[in-house]
Amino acid sequence: MYTGIGDALLILLSPMNLSWIALGTLLGLIAGTLPGVSGVSMMALLLPFTFGMEPETSVLMLIGIYAASTYSSSTGGILYNIPGGAAGVPTTMEGYKLSMKGRTGEVLSTDIYASFIGSTIGFVCAVVLTPLFITFATLFGTAERGLFALLALALVGTGALSRADPLRGLLAVGIGLLVGTVGMQPNTGFVRFVEGYPQLWDGFHLVWIIVGLYAIPQIFRLATLEKYFHAVREMDLHYGFGEEFRRFLSLFRRNRGMIIRTGLIGSIVGALPGLGTVASSWLGYQEAYRSSKAKEEFGNGSIEAVAGAETANNAAVPNTIVPLLSLGIPGSAASALILGAFLLAGVQPGPQMMAVNPEKVWTILLGLFFTGVFFVIFGLPFHRVAIYVTKVKPAFLIPAIVAFSAIGTFLATGFEEGIYITLGIGLVAVLLERMYLPVANVLLGAILGPTIEKELLLAYQIGGVGRFMQPGAASLVLIIAAILLWGLYKNLLPSLVEIWSPKSSQRVS
C-alpha cells in the first residue's frame, strides 16, 4: 500500500515541481486575501493552462492554490471583515474583533501557525485514510461505483450533515446532472439535446463549465468590491514575528488538546463528501468553545476560536482529496477541479491509479504537506504585501481576467464558440447565485452525472434490478434513501414549521 513513496519524494523534490507548488501557494494566498476572490475561482481560471502539463505537476499547482487559499480565506476576514471564502467565516467573526482591539499581529500569527498544525494533522490522516479507502473501493462493482457517486451528490444536495437548504441544494444538483446529459449518451452513443450541433456531441467541455461557473461570476463580483479594499490600504501590518511566535507557543501549550482534537475532527469531516472545509471550520469553532475556560470571549474576539477553526479547516484540506484519489469521486468543488486537471491530462483517479501509478497518489499527498510548509514561509511576509494586493484596481483586473478566461477556454478546445458558451454558462451562474442555488452542486452534478448514468445503466443491463439487491449495492441504496429523508427532515421541515408557527400567524392577524 505504501509503495511508491520514495519515487514520489524524488518527483516532488524536483526544482520544477517545487516551483509549481510555490507558485500555486502564492496565487492561493492572493486569491484568499482578496475579498470575494475564492481559491476555487483562481483554480478555475488556471485550469485550462494546465493542459499539456504532467498530471502531477498541474495537480500540485492546483492543490497549492487550494490549500493556501483555505488558509488565507480568513486573512481578509481578519483585516477587513470580508472572508475570502465560506471556510473563513468563523475566524472572521472572532479575528476581526481582535484586530480592531489592536491584536492584528497575534491573530494573523495564530491563524498561520494553527493552519500549519492543522494541515500537518490532516496530512497524516490522509496518508492513513487513503489506503483504507482504496481497499474499500476495490470491493466496488459498476453498481456500487454509480451508487457511491449518487451518495456523494445526496450528501451535497440535501445538506444532510450541514445546514444547507435541501430544495435548492438538490435542484442545483439536478441542474448539474442535466448539464451532464447533454451530448452523447455514454453507453449507447445517442445524441441528446444538441442533435444539430456536432461540436457539442461530446457534451459541454469540462473547462467551459468550470470557467463559466467560477471565473466569469468572479469578474462581475469584482465590480462591487472596490469599497472593501479601502479599509485595509491604511493598515499597518508590521509586527514582530518572533514575539508573536512565542505568544502562539504559549497558546498552544495551554490548548494543545483542543488543537489536536480540532485537527482530527477536521480530518474526518474533510473526508466526507459535501462537507469539507466549511463544516470543519464550524465544528472546530464549536470544539474550541466547548473546551474553553474563557467562553465569554467567544463572539467578542477569542484567540482560541481562531486557533480551533483554523486548525480544523486546514486539517480538512488534504482529506477532501482522499475520496477523489481513492474512489475517483470528488466531494467538493475544489476536488472537482483537481479531477478536471487529471482528466485533462488523460488520467482517471481511483483505485486503479494506486495500483498502476502509486507514486502519483503519494506525490499529491506529500505535495499537500509541502504546501503547508510553503504557506508558513510565504504567509508571514505576505501579510505585509496584502495591502499592495488590494491596490490592484478592479478596472484593470476585470479585462485581464476576461482575457485569460477567453484564452484558457479557447486553448481547451480550439473552438471559438466555446468562449461564447462559457460566457453563457457564466451569466447563468450569476442568475443561479441570485436564486441562492449553490453552483458547487451544479459542478459536482455535471461531473458525476455521466459516471452515475453510465455505471448504473451498465449494472442494470448486466444484472437487472437484482444487481441492486446485492448486499453492497442495497446498503448504498438504503443509505442514500436515509440521507435524503434525514436532509429533508432536518432542514426542510423546520423551515415549513417556522412558516406555520402561531407566532407568524399572529403577526399576520
Binding site: 437548504d165 442535466l178 441528446r192 478596472a395 476576461v402 460566457l423 441570485r434 436564486m435 445503466l457 412558516i499
Partner: protein
C-alpha cells in the same frame, strides 16, 4: 447564511418547473436506454422541486407577517454578484467584448474592454490608455510565445 425572500422562492420554483417541463417534453421522444436518465431527472427531480419551491413561496407570502423583500438580500455580501449600475455596465461590456472577439479579434476587443472598464470605474484617461497599451502588448507577446491562435478578426 442569508435567507432567500418568498419572491426568490417563487422565481426559483418557476425556473425549476419550466426547466423540468422542457426537459421532460424533449426527452419524451428519446429511446428509454438513452433518454431515461434525463427524463427521470426532469420529470421526477427538477420539476417536483420547482412545485415544492412554488408552494413554499406562496405559503411564505400568505403566512409570513412582513415578507422580507429587501433586508437580507440587500445586505452586503462579497460572495455574490450585486446588481448595481456599475455591475450591470460591466456585465454588458464583458458580454459585448466577448461576442466581438470573433469579429474585431481578441487583442482589439480585450483592449476596448479595458478602455470601457477604465471609464466605468472613472480611472484617469491617461492611466487607462497606458494600461490598454500594456495589456495589449502583454497579450500579444503571450499569444506569440505560446503559439496560441486566438481569433484575429480585423488584424487578419
Amino acid at each position: 447564511m442569508m435567507r432567500p425572500t418568498p419572491y426568490a422562492d417563487l422565481l426559483t420554483g418557476a425556473f425549476a418547473l419550466a426547466l423540468g417541463a422542457t426537459g421532460t417534453v424533449i426527452t419524451l421522444g428519446y429511446p428509454s436506454t438513452s433518454g431515461g436518465f434525463p427524463f427521470a431527472l426532469s420529470a421526477y427531480m427538477v420539476a417536483p422541486i420547482g412545485v415544492l419551491l412554488l408552494f413554499k413561496g406562496v405559503l411564505r407570502l400568505a403566512l409570513e407577517a412582513r415578507p422580507n423583500t429587501d433586508g437580507d438580500e440587500d445586505s452586503e455580501d462579497a460572495q455574490h454578484v450585486q446588481f448595481t449600475p456599475v455591475t450591470l455596465a460591466v456585465i454588458a461590456a464583458v458580454t459585448l467584448a466577448t461576442f466581438a472577439i470573433g469579429w474585431l479579434g481578441f487583442i482589439i476587443s480585450t483592449g476596448l474592454l479595458a478602455l470601457v472598464t477604465g471609464r466605468i470605474f472613472r480611472t484617469r484617461l491617461w492611466v487607462t490608455l497606458v494600461y490598454v497599451a500594456a495589456q495589449s502588448a502583454v497579450l500579444w507577446a503571450f499569444l506569440r510565445f505560446f503559439s496560441v491562435q486566438m481569433p484575429e478578426g480585423l488584424l487578419m
